[in-house]
């Protein structure tokens, strides 16, 4: 299958995360192994974009998956990698859940309440974006840094009024007297896009462009397989998500899977350097983090545009 000339690596290490998207499907079904019979593929699971950033900087992995927030931070810090694919656009998978007893009907009502979210995550970014869009001063809200399972524990104790978090905890919160006020999907519609981003080590992309190209095509075929038969895909992913098929299907539906062709739209990665909507998203994310005093400084747009692989 390595027909079109470019050489392929003997070995490649891919850092993935357990998120119900095309890459997880590729891994589970062994599609990459089929595509690259002569290349050894090592899959490494990661928990957070922070660790992916470290791993890629140390040269331990060639390809990785991280949220748009860690990637924005990484680019701002000149980590040597490029964005080659958007594994998913976060839709309803990450949402702000509020406890019904807390009388929160809208983001505005968060003032004076306790809201939990894992700091440095896409959910954290979404929460801050929601506050900004509604004109709520973050200082009037108590924002707590909690990991998902601790959010659930705190929720049960009624220690918190709301949480911006992802599945499966999100589902548990709504099941236990909570309801969704705003989702990442709605925020994305208002311009605060969050996504799970495929990144590749710059040197690797340079040495093996053919591999990246073919890997993207494998991802595309996985997206297609999902569109053709979501039930099958859900059944495949259910065990690795520690859940049943129906729930897995629901989870996949909360993320937006895009093919590379769709991502070529200027709204997403784009095809030309200065026409990449996603570079803009990364820059906005960076500036937003600066504004929120999360990071000291963010570079200009061109740096982000450079970071999109073409």
């Amino acid at each position: 299958s390595s027909s079109s000339g470019g050489k392929l690596p003997k070995e490649v290490t891919i850092g993935y995360q357990i998120i119900p998207n095309a890459e997880l499907l590729v891994k589970t079904k062994g599609l990459a192994e089929k595509q690259f019979p002569d290349t050894r593929i090592n899959w490494k699971a990661f928990d957070s974009g922070r660790d992916v950033n470290t791993a890629i900087a140390s040269g331990s992995i060639d390809l990785g998956l991280a949220g748009s927030v860690p990637v924005s931070i990484g680019v701002a810090n000149k980590l040597p990698y490029k964005v080659y694919f958007l594994h998913d656009i976060i839709g309803d998978a990450e949402s702000l859940a509020v406890r019904n007893e807390s009388n929160i009907a809208s983001v505005k009502d968060l003032q004076g309440k306790k809201v939990a979210t894992p700091f440095g995550s896409t959910a954290h970014f979404s929460l801050l974006s929601a506050l900004k869009l509604e004109g709520v001063d973050p200082k009037t809200v108590t924002i707590l840094d909690l990991q998902p399972q601790d959010i659930l524990a705190a929720w049960q104790r009624k220690d918190i009024d709301a949480a911006f978090v992802w599945n499966p905890v999100l589902a548990k919160l709504t099941a236990e007297g909570g309801s969704v006020v705003v989702s990442a999907q709605q925020l994305a519609d208002q311009g605060a896009i969050t996504a799970d981003v495929g990144i590749v080590r710059a040197k690797f992309a340079e040495d093996y462009p053919e591999f990246v190209k073919q890997y993207v095509s494998v991802l595309d075929s996985a997206v297609q397989a999902y569109r053709d038969n979501p039930d099958d895909v859900a059944a495949t992913l259910a065990p690795i998500l520690s859940t049943d098929k129906d729930d897995a299907l629901a989870q996949t539906k909360q993320l937006v899977w895009l093919t590379s062709a769709e991502q070529a739209d200027a709204k997403y990665l784009g095809t030309e350097k200065d026409k990449s909507g996603f570079a803009d998203v990364l820059r906005q994310t960076g500036e937003f983090l600066v504004e929120q005093k999360q990071i000291p400084a963010a570079p200009e747009l061109s740096v982000y545009q450079e970071a999109i692989l073409r």
Binding site: G15, K44, A45, D47, R50, T54, A55, S60, I61, P168
Partner: protein
């Protein structure tokens, strides 16, 4: 000491299990966090039969034990000699201790990133983390054990012609054996404690990873299986260390 009254220990454990059963039966705590013994047992049986996320239980336990074991061998081979030497030579101690004192209290989570950066995401960074975690307690126990050796025991040995090197192997080392055993137990606890942290980054097997992964998906039954297994393995290791201690150091607590 442990064995003579093992009946008591067994009774205590049985009581704790009964309490657990009662508490979950009466639903005093959310089963999402404290699952019932029955469901934990079921999860255990299932994991035994089918493994967890692609690896059998043996592979998970084996992966963790391999990391722990390697780290522990490194710790034994470094902390004991260094502790002996720096307990004995004040100058070495003055040189070495600032660093040990400094890194010792640092949380593994704070410097794990650096280790990954230097050693990659493979087993070596994990083993390094475990090693660093267990090194300091053993080192400290050994070094302060040396300081506590009666001075005249050392004098006596040197009068009998013990060279520096043999003083270490033949007198200081055995004198510190009780301290070494205590230190080994603490160090083992410390490495073990760090296991989950070590398997947080880019692992796909290991009991720590299993617990961590399960907690992400709120599988508290699996979390409990993992925790209980880790606890049981640790207790078994500890018991064998104690058995070794009893059989090797029968003179503990007796006046020479």
């Amino acid at each position: 000491m442990f064995t003579r009254h093992w009946r008591l220990s067994v009774a205590a454990i049985a009581a704790a299990l009964a309490l657990w059963w009662g508490v979950t039966k009466l639903e005093w705590v959310n089963p999402l966090f404290v699952p019932s013994p029955a469901s934990v047992w079921n999860a255990f049986v299932e994991i035994c039969r089918e493994g967890y996320k692609g690896s059998s239980l043996l592979v998970h336990a084996g992966a963790s034990l391999k990391r722990l074991g390697t780290a522990f061998l490194i710790i034994l081979a470094t902390a004991i000699p260094l502790g002996l030497i720096s307990g004995f030579f004040i100058r070495v101690r003055a040189l070495v201790e600032p660093f040990i004192e400094f890194y010792r209290p640092l949380p593994p989570l704070a410097y794990y990133t650096l280790l990954v950066l230097w050693l990659g995401i493979g087993d070596s960074s994990k083993i390094a983390l475990l090693t660093l975690a267990g090194f300091a307690p053993l080192y400290i126990a050994v070094a302060s054990g040396v300081v506590r050796i009666p001075q005249d025991r050392i004098n006596g040995a040197r009068s009998l012609g013990a060279s520096r090197a043999r003083l270490f192997t033949r007198v200081i080392f055995p004198s510190c054996l009780p301290d070494i055993f205590t230190g080994v137990r603490t160090a083992l606890g410390m490495t073990y404690t760090t296991l989950v942290a070590a398997e947080m980054v880019a692992a796909e097997s290991g009991l720590g990873w299993m617990v961590l992964d399960a907690s992400k998906f709120l599988r508290s039954d699996v979390i409990f299986v993992g925790i209980i297994l880790m606890g049981v393995i640790a207790v078994l290791i500890d018991l064998s260390i104690r058995w070794l201690e009893r059989s090797q150091v029968p003179w503990i607590g007796k006046d020479s």
